[in-house]
Symmetry: D2
Subunit: 254 residues, 4 copies
């Protein structure tokens, strides 16, 4: 079970809601993923526009926790403003803080990210913070009181998977809050990889919405996250330099 702030979830997959081919496909993919947490960019959803069809209206909101994010913010100030907008809409009081520091790579800004997180904590939000895989930055964010840390595997939407396994391991080892690997997941093995390292969950979007068959990929991700979690709990074998026979040497038929 994954606990963030005061809520508890059976699923360890958080699913983004951007760029699906259609609402119908998205709805089916969301169902196939068995996610309980949907994340969306506040700036990009017409959440107050009653004239437009809208995923959130299509879904049975009782079944999902909503995790609005501050995507599009380049400063703490913008992020805070977006978060307040999300809260005002009455949708939820969880927020994913995302403050981009570089338009080319979409990598996050450590200083503005910290500033926004601190401000939103003061305002009573449940704060999940998207960050690089900088180990000490993650530690400082945790010390500031955030509710979950969301280090990136690789740049948003890049599908490159986990580049620096070591940093994620260090972050997981040091953290007493949930670690949700966010950004860069490209395929099921990447999601399983994050979970095997001991992550508490995975957030992904493009890997599903951009797949040829998003519904099938959503199911694949659901299974991969379960597989990775079970693999973590089961305690994997150590890597060895040379081959080791899988059968005992004694009692050979000769």
């Amino acid at each position: 079970m994954l606990t963030i702030g005061e809520k508890t979830f059976r699923s360890r997959l958080m699913l983004g809601t951007g760029k699906y081919p259609s609402f119908a496909v998205q709805k089916e993919a969301v169902a196939a993923s068995e996610t309980e947490i949907l994340t969306f960019a506040v700036r990009r959803m017409d959440i107050f526009d009653k004239d437009e069809p809208n995923l959130l209206e299509e879904l049975d909101l009782e079944k999902y926790s909503l995790l609005p994010n501050t995507a599009g913010a380049k400063t703490a100030e913008e992020a805070v403003r977006i978060a307040r907008l999300a809260r005002a809409s009455g949708l939820c009081d969880m927020i994913k803080v995302e403050v981009i520091g570089c338009d080319k790579t979409l990598l996050p800004d450590p200083f503005e990210t910290m500033k926004a997180s601190v401000q939103l904590l003061e305002e009573g939000f449940t704060v999940l913070t998207y960050t690089s895989d900088d180990v000490v930055l993650a530690k400082r964010l945790e010390e500031a009181g955030i509710h979950a840390i969301m280090p990136g595997a690789s740049p948003i939407g890049s599908g490159r998977g986990i580049i620096n396994e070591m940093n994620l391991q260090f972050i997981i080892e040091q953290s007493e809050i949930p670690v949700i690997v966010d950004a860069g997941i490209g395929s099921p093995k990447d999601a399983a990889h994050a979970m095997e390292l001991g992550a508490d969950g995975v957030l992904l979007n493009t890997a599903v919405s951009g797949a040829e068959d998003p519904v099938k990929m959503a199911e694949a991700m659901k299974l991969a996250i379960q597989a990775g979690r079970l693999g973590y709990e089961a305690g994997r074998i150590e890597k060895k330099e040379y081959g080791i026979q899988s059968s005992p040497e004694s009692g050979l038929v000769t």
Copy 2:
């Protein structure tokens, strides 16, 4: 569905039967894996010894196809002799050809492997051949008529996972027979990885039998193989150099 020779299987996981902590754990792990194919070293199972308890007796053999292997053979001659022994026992006529060429690394001998495969094909066996990830060797074995090719991810029992993704990709691209990635799988992400490359199945043993909790790991592997297969079928996103926003740029709330 996985078809090898004349048989068809729903599961794409082949499970080895070596070195489990106990028969009870093994039985439970086999069940959790939902495998339909069990592999065992002919030389190491007392298949004719009626006085000893034996996994094969414990299992409901109706439910499983047995894939005896020639582990322990260092020459084609030995491998052929072991295969004939397996057939004589009446257990099955499928055989996994495994001829080790190096005691230190347990890597296979290409020449003896080919020789044994050819001989056993002539004798009417359904032949699945364990090999290195040498691309042209795999092609030549296929041309010789084997029924499935089993390239190693890394040395037997090493748990190092897939070292040379490129070679496995090349083998999968060129093969018209099933490709079963065999040896070296260490964790669920490795199994998912093999399947995402387009492998038809995975064979593993130590990753499950040597895990702290073999039953849980067996379930993890089952899910990982399903996840990897679905991910392959779903068509993953391409890897990109820079970050790409997961939400559309238009219609922003400002």
Copy 3:
């Protein structure tokens, strides 16, 4: 030529002065490396203790620029104090800012690192800042006015080499100040790798001082850095998925 602040260097190798087996070996290794910049921990060199033999006294200081570092500092305040101590000794006014945020991994603290860098810039130092490979952090440090950015390849003394090539590439692409890859270099190939990415220099210590033969390794590093730089300037071939014949197809002898 490498230019940092107002100084220009022919060598692109900065060499640390810790943990050599003896002064004699160190002196010979320094010579073999042909470095022009020696870095040392202010807190760990008895720079005022006239009774102890001391590398700095042994060397012809006319030949070297000294780069004292703030190793051992865990806060900006400590780093600033150490830097002032270095300046007071009259040895130099360049300083390598190093503020560790985690005793276990020795990874740097982004906030204290920034704070110390800003303060020392205000005090007129030529500031070279050791940092993680966080891309936006590097950008912010450059915007703050530092004279060179020193991202780590992997943790100090780990010898793991470059873990996240992408981040180093991004930092190099965005930087208009020199990028010196610092920490984690384990062998010549790692140093060549950093230079091929377009780094302006490499700082290393343990890879030389901890080698079985530090003098020979110092020479190896010198050559590797030259090789990597030349390789960068020469413009390497692109990576290709499949093989490409190195000889023309036409005019074959048949």
Copy 4:
């Protein structure tokens, strides 16, 4: 010193002669590389055509050993025929056996490679055999009596560098004949990498001839191979999981 058959060389770089922008550039690159062994495709050099300008005529052949190769051969028979042609030309009696088994990947055929090597050994050639990185195949070729084994780092001309470090390590550990890493080298770090693993030499072509500045890249490769060799001899530090301070803890200035 590198000894192959009865010849000894100071340089550990073998340079291919295909696809340079011009003879002038090639000549200069060859000089910059300080190679002593030039390899060329017998089928692709008009070695008997007196009307065409020709690299071999341009060079001072006293300074170089020539290593003709059987590139273009797809069977042992073709390779043997090409080798005899090379010998008949009086150029040399060393031969690099290269028998390609796959047009798409240009990877070698293990069976035809072995057959050609054995035949040419019987005919008294000094045989250097290009092969995949299959460990037992390399062993069997050595047992057959070849004079040097040339495992590929990755496919010919791909510039992908060393994909399977483990296999090269195993081949180097087991070999008592020289190991020359051949094919796939893309940049100086790759060449250094091969040498650090303990290879006796490196053969490359496209990485130099296809570089933007082949002369500069030739020099880079020369230095990289020296650096890698020295690094191997110097005994590198072990990789460590966590950071290790490069300066002693005692005697701190506080």
